[in-house]
């Protein structure tokens, strides 16, 4: 590669200096078990799954309708995170 830069591919154990953890803390379990946003209770997790859905679509982009839907959900999630549920 240019500028005498070489890339060394490493296993996770070598790269991190330790094995991957057996379990994960602080992650919504629904994010690890579901691919369907509408079946998930946590709003932040719903948004993440929607992101993943959009990111894995064949054309990789959102339609205007999807954008509006996503923006409204993001706004709702933000309002909820600020504790304004009324």
């Amino acid at each position: 590669m240019a500028y005498n830069i070489v890339i060394r591919n490493q296993s996770a154990t070598t790269f991190f200096g330790q094995d991957l953890p057996a379990t994960l803390d602080g992650i919504d379990p629904e994010f690890l078990t579901s691919n369907v946003p509408s079946e998930v209770d946590n709003h932040g997790t719903q948004l993440l799954l929607m992101y993943l859905e959009f990111a894995t679509e064949v054309n990789g982009s959102m339609s205007p309708v999807q954008m509006i839907f996503f923006a409204s959900h993001s706004l709702l999630a933000y309002i909820r995170s600020k504790g304004c549920n009324q």
Binding site: Y3, L48, A55
Partner: protein, 169 residues
């Protein structure tokens, strides 16, 4: 969700970093996402691309630009220049994350600025999630997602240990 962003850090998207390359100090590179510490130190770079090689070359250029920018800011703040910085980076090819540690030295930086080939080899370390799976696989697969999140959790610890060097006076 993964705890990369803490008090004192700010996440920026489409952040342009000046890059002095081949005697042209007016070039810039644009990160997809970067994490800034107190608006003066670039601590993490994230780059998306359609291809692994494309993302890799972009993020390495961004790491070199970050070295230059961080040192400019250190001088502005009355701190000494650093001769080396290890910058943690993530590339996303689709929904597949790839993790890097890019060590940038003053020698590499000078070579880039002057358009010369440095004598010293720079070894970038890289870890691909699910290296044995197809390139098209990503976090939409539940088993892959768990694996990726475990990598992210360890990368956060690794990045934080690198930041303590990066931010030290």
């Amino acid at each position: 969700m993964l705890g990369f962003e803490e008090s004192g850090y700010i996440l920026r998207s489409r952040y342009a970093i000046p890059l002095n390359i081949c005697g042209e100090p007016t070039q810039t590179v644009q990160t997809d996402i970067c994490l800034l510490h107190q608006a003066s130190t670039i601590t993490l770079l994230v780059q998306e691309d359609k291809s692994e090689l494309g993302a890799e070359s972009k993020v390495i250029a961004e790491a070199i630009a970050s070295f230059q920018e961080n040192n400019r800011n250190r001088i502005r703040l009355g701190k000494g220049r650093k001769n080396s910085m290890s910058i943690p980076c993530i590339t996303m090819v689709g929904t597949r994350p790839i993790f890097y540690v890019v060590p940038v030295t003053q020698q590499l930086c000078t070579a880039v600025e002057q358009g010369e080939f440095p004598e010293q080899v720079t070894e970038v370390r890289k870890c691909v999630v699910g290296a044995e799976t197809q390139l098209s696989d990503g976090m939409e697969r539940l088993d892959f997602r768990l694996e990726a999140l475990k990598h992210f959790a360890l990368f956060r610890s690794l990045a934080k240990s690198l930041w303590s060097d990066l931010l030290a006076d």
